[in-house]
């Protein structure tokens, strides 16, 4: 086709759709977003759905502060999305817990938390350590073997599938062209435009590119001589039946969705691009969850999931603009950082460069950056 878009976003997951929404909200540019197939890896539909700051940015002050900042933006972002899309993204600032099974675990976590707390701007952002007695007051039904937990009242949960749906709906309402079944194979840069070709030979041209393709950002950026070091990290999530509301404060082991479904998790495995279910890992997740919430014993598990997280080499997000026209946006926290992507990052893309407060997240830190 002969049309040259102002912006082409590669990747229709939560990151891509946040930016599609944000760009189209703030400009009249012509924007297209491409998305591959139903059965590609898709971290966006295999994640646990928490907005989380308490564990992010250990010894990484800028990342810790970024996670802090965005947790205060969520309520407003939620209101905006829901009002415009009429889709309930089910966001609640419930607070969040990280449970400790042994005193040793508690001590280690306490140390880690104190490092993170030292970075935050506001006192209300600080994570506190609770012993078992204090914990029982806010977590009824707690298992006897739990010694304590870390608690941060700024953390929360939402429905990540509804978030994706709302952002895609609004982006299209705001005239973004959504092109699916387009699996990007090659990217060429010539003169003032990027030429993006799909596996089946379709071509889209754009003046600027936003790379939001998750793990695929790495091989695609490499075609332009840009090093985006990413690792897949496998995580299992288990889905149990719906039960009446338990008012659970979420943790990574168990949480309840608005529809009543119980989600159990999680695991962190370095096994490359393998997304097969490992029954041994499943069994470990279940045992741990039962220790935290014994009533789970009699609940039915409906299915297990595994998905690949996108982990930049040092764990921190990647925000960079190369040559004013190529924007690389990659993070393992696309859910938590959605308000940032839809607002500040999108505006920065329109300005042709990332802002100073996101300097720490540029690709420079990986020491290789060149355009072919």
């Amino acid at each position: 086709m002969n049309k040259i878009y102002d912006f082409l976003i590669i990747g229709g997951g939560v990151t891509g759709s946040s930016i599609a929404y944000g760009l189209s909200k703030n400009s009249n540019s012509s924007i297209a977003i491409v998305d591959a197939y139903d059965n590609t890896y898709r971290a966006s539909v295999g994640n646990y759905g928490l907005t989380w700051m308490q564990s992010k940015g250990y010894k990484q002050p800028f990342y810790a502060r970024l996670s802090e900042q965005v947790s205060y933006d969520w309520s407003e972002f939620r209101n905006e999305l829901e009002e415009k899309s009429q889709i309930d993204i089910e966001y609640i600032k419930t607070g969040g817990l990280t449970f400790c099974h042994t005193q040793d675990e508690f001590a280690k976590l306490e140390k880690k938390i104190s490092n993170l707390n030292s970075y935050y701007q506001h006192d209300s952002s600080k994570t506190v350590m609770l012993d078992a007695k204090e914990l029982k007051k806010i977590y009824p039904g707690l298992g006897e073997s739990i010694v304590g937990a870390a608690y941060n009242k700024q953390d929360g949960l939402l429905n990540p599938l509804h978030l994706l749906k709302a952002q895609l709906k609004l982006a299209q309402k705001q005239k973004v062209e959504y092109i699916s079944h387009f699996s990007t194979a090659t990217i060429d840069k010539s003169n003032d435009e990027y030429k993006v070709t799909s596996q089946d030979g379709r071509i889209i041209r754009a003046k600027q590119l936003v790379m939001a393709a998750g793990l695929s950002n790495m091989p695609l950026a490499a075609q332009l001589g840009i090093n985006v070091p990413l690792e897949p990290q496998k995580g299992h999530i288990l889905v149990a039946q719906k039960v009446p509301p338990l008012d659970l404060i979420p943790c990574f082991n168990v949480r309840q969705t608005k529809s009543g479904t119980l989600l159990l998790g999680v695991s962190n495995e370095d096994v490359g691009f393998d997304i097969n279910i490992d029954e041994g890992i499943v069994s470990n997740i279940l045992k741990k969850s039962i220790k935290i919430l014994p009533m789970l014993k009699d609940v039915n598990l409906i299915r297990s999931w595994s998905s690949l997280r996108i982990i930049p080499q040092d764990g921190k997000p990647i925000y960079d603009t190369i040559d004013n026209t190529l924007h690389v946006i990659t993070t393992h926290s696309a859910i938590t950082l959605a308000p940032l992507h839809a607002n500040e990052v999108s505006k920065s893309i329109l300005n042709g460069k990332m802002p100073d407060n996101l300097k720490d997240f540029s690709l420079d830190r990986f020491n290789e950056k060149e355009i072919v």
Partner: protein, 89 residues
């Protein structure tokens, strides 16, 4: 409705605390059906009444509570004397 040439032993069970008759060898779905009990559960979201659909263990519409335990497939469970069956929660 009727039975024909079934000479199995008569047994009693309760559904929602009311007593009914069935025969040895019946599964719970059949036992509820022969007693014209219209539904065994209501859906989680909209509380719509449901009852057995496939009768072979794959539709999960036939769920009941038996002797205090919820979420049991009626079509895969044989009725025994004195079984206490309730609408599933």
């Amino acid at each position: 409705m009727s039975r024909f040439s079934n000479f199995n032993k008569d047994i009693t069970f309760t559904f929602n605390d009311k007593v009914y008759m069935a025969k040895q060898g019946d599964n719970v779905s059949a036992a509820l059906s022969i007693n014209d009990i219209p539904y065994n559960r209501k859906t989680f979201d909209n509380k719509t009444p449901r009852s057995s659909f496939c009768h072979m263990g794959i539709c999960f519409e036939c769920l009941v509570q038996i002797d205090g335990v919820s979420g049991i497939q009626a079509c895969k469970t044989q009725v025994v004397e004195g079984m206490e069956i309730k609408e599933d929660v």
